[in-house]
């Protein structure tokens, strides 16, 4: 009864904590650049074999560029390794970033619930921080992102 299992990590990304408040983001997060940064880190820290082993189920499922929440899927065997590699990520491109785990779950259902909760909370904070700068377009983008979470693996 050895079944293949996944782990879903809900992570938040801090983009360049040294920048002044209210500045525009130096980079726009996407599933591609997040996954590339993580893969680079795995290769740097655990080598070719480590990367090859964990690549099987590794996937960045979801990225919200506004609230900077992302969902990353790995296999259960390698999730500690991938997590460590993510912790040791220092930059995406030239921009210094740091990842922080918000939730770790074993099923997409629990993961979606946690991600939605975190995403909403982060958006609240974003609105608090940005104040009047929150335009309707941004709100629309975030709303569509929420829908994307709900639609994950359905």
């Amino acid at each position: 009864m050895v079944q293949f299992k996944n782990r879903y990590m809900v992570m938040e990304v801090f983009v360049d904590a040294n920048r002044e408040l209210g500045d525009n983001d130096p980079i726009i997060l996407s599933a591609f650049n997040v996954s590339k940064a993580i893969k680079d880190s795995i290769q740097l820290n655990f080598g070719e074999c480590g990367l090859a082993v964990s690549l099987g189920s590794f996937q960045v499922k979801y990225v919200n560029p506004t609230t900077k929440i992302c969902i990353i899927r790995t296999s259960r065997e390698d999730h500690q390794k991938v997590w460590s590699a993510i912790t040791m990520v220092r930059s995406i491109g030239k921009c210094p970033v740091s990842f922080n785990l918000l939730d770790l779950s074993g099923s997409i259902k629990a993961c979606k619930r946690a991600a939605l909760m975190c995403d909403e909370a982060k958006f609240e904070q974003y609105r608090l921080a940005a104040g009047d700068l929150v335009t309707p377009e941004i709100t629309d983008v975030v709303k569509s992102c929420f829908e994307k979470i709900k639609a994950l693996e359905k």
Binding site: N18, W83, T87, N100, Y126, A129
Partner: protein, 654 residues
């Protein structure tokens, strides 16, 4: 429900000294803003406290006193901070109510054991909340592990270690309650350092098995700070700690270290808190004040630098709440002024762990009680160790020296009374309880201690020097006793034959040696004291057999009787006191017993037959003299029986 701490946020800027040039001040500003950002990040990530770590090298001067590095208004840094902090606390499952705390810490880089020694007792260091050392060579590391009075040993794993970690040293340090610090920022920051660091850090983690290890960031920039769970995972995966130990390393270990360090800082001798509350002319309600203070006492609060808890932030109270708890020991006055005197300085003495101490106790009664407890303890442990008998006179002497004005005689008399009453109680026990043999030895000892103590009292009443003399005499007495024990086995005296048997018996079983030793010692060195005790026993035993017809009781009783004979031989005067009628009645009972159990006739027939015993018999005998009156003696006997019976059963199986 764990609170996470980051006990190392670098604090590099200098408030005074080099700040005259504009370049230095700009640098200071940059460093300060970096520190502020790091603290804000830690708060945002859900940490419950940070410690600002000032690295230090050289001799600690008075100017290096802790100078408020604490950031007063973290809340102004970002408006959405409170919400983020609350979210992360919730996700970390740590309670939102504890405030975010800031501590000060100094890390001394030391390169010689002398520096370590001098750093231990420096009052300037105690202005910091946490004191850590970073040894730079083998000698400094050895000394730091073995003797230093610091809270933490911080090891810089980013370079090649200048010393070798040694398992015994690490174990000693852990036993002494020191913590080891591993910093993770190097692990994240530089690829080449990782290789260097992991090998050494893993060794330390393996040897400590995660005990007394603290993980902290030492982050040079904000980007190096990671969340508590990420750090935990990193440590688990790379250093091979277990999950709970890794979590403890960043939460509970830090907390226990903080509690210990702050207690060291704020309490006199780690238990008594001194506060200067009000000027003399004002009266205050001491009871009310102390109770409220004790109830609100927070073991990990440094007294300053606590931000209001997140609940308060949520209620949008940006102004910092005034900390209700008054400041603890005022260190400026202590270090500048006269030495710290309890009697002069204290307006109030409150004990952290004893509420009853709030009311200033009647010193006489307390000391008295303490002494009584001590003496009672030494009695109840009775036969366990002869060396312990030295302790009662010493412990009595100490408080007497302290309280000079008190009437010495009163204390002495009361203690003597206590001893006497104890003695009497034990005697009562002898007559009632069936296990007389065990308790009778108690009685012997109690009489022994009484006389010894009273000797000391007498000496003390005469004059102070005399008391010391007496004390040394007591020492001598005991050492003489021990010598006698040593020579006892070689003694050809007829009285010793029985004891010899015991001695050889007891060699087989360690548990019984002490009891036998004490017995021989009493017989040898203090016959007149013991004789009186034995006299009382004697009378007890005459009534005893009527109550107990059991085999063992009788054996023990016979044993005692033999001992009595011995005593009688040695001091003739005592023998005259013993009524002859008793012995006759004993003989009768013996004969009865023999008739009842003919198989054991040879063993119980008389005093002479005691010298010729079978091995089995010896073991039975020795089991009558355990090291202390154990309540589970029957339990031990059953084990003995099993062990004996076991090979027999096996043989039957074959």
């Amino acid at each position: 429900m764990a609170l996470f701490f980051d006990l190392s946020v670098p604090y590099l800027e200098r408030e005074h000294g080099a700040s005259s040039s504009t370049g230095a001040s700009a640098e200071n500003k940059a460093l300060r803003s970096a520190r502020l950002r790091a603290a804000v990040k830690a708060l945002e990530l859900g940490y419950a406290g940070v410690a600002y770590d000032r690295p230090f090298r050289g001799v600690v001067a008075d100017s290096d006193r802790c100078s408020r590095p604490l950031l007063p208004s973290l809340l102004a840094a970002a408006p959405s901070l409170a919400a983020a902090a609350a979210l992360h606390r919730r996700l970390l499952r740590s309670p939102p109510s504890p405030p975010f705390r800031q501590f000060s810490r100094i890390t001394l880089s030391l390169d010689s054991p002398a520096a370590v020694a001098s750093s231990s007792s420096n009052p300037v260091l105690r202005t910091y909340d946490i004191v850590a050392v970073r040894p730079l060579n083998q000698a400094a590391f050895d000394h730091a592990c073995k003797f230093s009075e610091v809270d933490m040993i911080s090891i810089d794993f980013s370079q090649k270690l200048p010393f070798r970690l040694k398992l015994p040293l690490v174990e000693v340090a852990i036993k002494r309650g020191l913590h080891f610090e591993i910093t993770y920022s190097h692990l994240i920051a530089d690829v080449n350092v990782r290789r260097q660091m992991l090998a050494d850090a893993k060794l330390l983690v393996e040897w400590t098995r995660g005990k007394n290890v603290i993980i902290s960031s030492a982050a040079s920039s904000v980007n190096d700070i990671r969340g508590p769970y990420d750090v935990t995972n990193l440590v688990v995966f790379l250093l091979g700690l277990s999950m709970e130990r890794a979590k403890a390393a960043i939460s509970t270990n830090c907390r226990s270290l903080l509690v210990k360090a702050l207690r060291k800082k704020h309490f006199y001798k780690e238990t008594i808190r001194i506060e200067r509350i009000l000027p003399d002319n004002e009266q205050f309600d001491s009871k009310k004040f102390l109770l409220s203070n004790l109830i609100n006492w927070d073991p990990i609060s440094s007294g300053e630098g606590d931000l209001p808890s997140l609940d308060d932030i949520a209620n949008s109270t940006p102004s910092k709440k005034q900390n209700a708890s008054s400041k603890a020991i005022d260190f400026t006055s202590i270090t500048d002024g006269t030495p710290f005197l309890l009697s002069h300085n204290a307006t109030i003495i409150s004990s952290s762990n004893n509420l009853s101490a709030c009311a200033v106790p009647d010193e006489v009664s307390q000391q008295d009680e303490a002494n009584e407890v001590l003496i009672e303890n030494s009695l109840s442990t009775s036969v366990t160790a002869l060396e312990e008998q030295i302790s009662p006179p010493e412990t009595i002497l100490v408080p007497l020296d302290n309280i000079e004005k008190l009437p010495v005689e009163a204390i002495l008399a009361s203690e003597a009374d206590a001893l006497q009453s104890d003695h009497m109680e034990l005697e009562d026990c002898n007559t009632t309880v069936g296990d007389t043999v065990l308790l009778s030895s108690d009685a012997n000892l109690s009489s022994f201690t009484v006389t010894e103590n009273t000797q000391t009292y007498n000496g003390f009443l005469e004059d102070d020097e005399g008391s010391k003399h007496c004390e040394t005499e007591a020492h001598k007495d005991v050492t003489e006793l021990m010598k006698c024990i040593a020579s006892a086995s070689g003694n050809q005296d007829q009285t010793q034959l029985n004891d010899d048997n015991y001695y050889s018996n007891s060699m087989k079983d360690d548990m019984h040696t002490e009891g036998v030793k004490v017995r021989t010692a009493e017989r040898e060195a203090s016959p007149e004291e013991v004789a009186s005790a034995h006299d009382e026993e004697w009378q007890n035993f005459t009534t005893e057999p009527a109550l107990t017809g059991q085999r063992e009781g009788l054996d023990a009783f016979l044993e005692e009787m033999h001992a009595m004979d011995v005593i009688k031989d040695t001091n003739v005067v005592e023998r005259e006191d013993i009524p002859s009628g008793n012995t006759v009645s004993l003989e009768k009972i013996l004969i009865k017993e023999e008739e009842r159990m003919p198989s054991r006739c040879s063993a119980t027939i008389g005093a002479k037959s005691f010298e010729v015993k079978s091995g089995k018999r010896k073991q039975r005998k020795s089991s009558n003299y355990p090291a202390s009156p154990l309540p589970f003696s029957s339990f031990f006997k059953s084990i003995l029986f099993k062990r004996k019976g076991w090979p027999l059963r096996r043989r039957q199986n074959k």
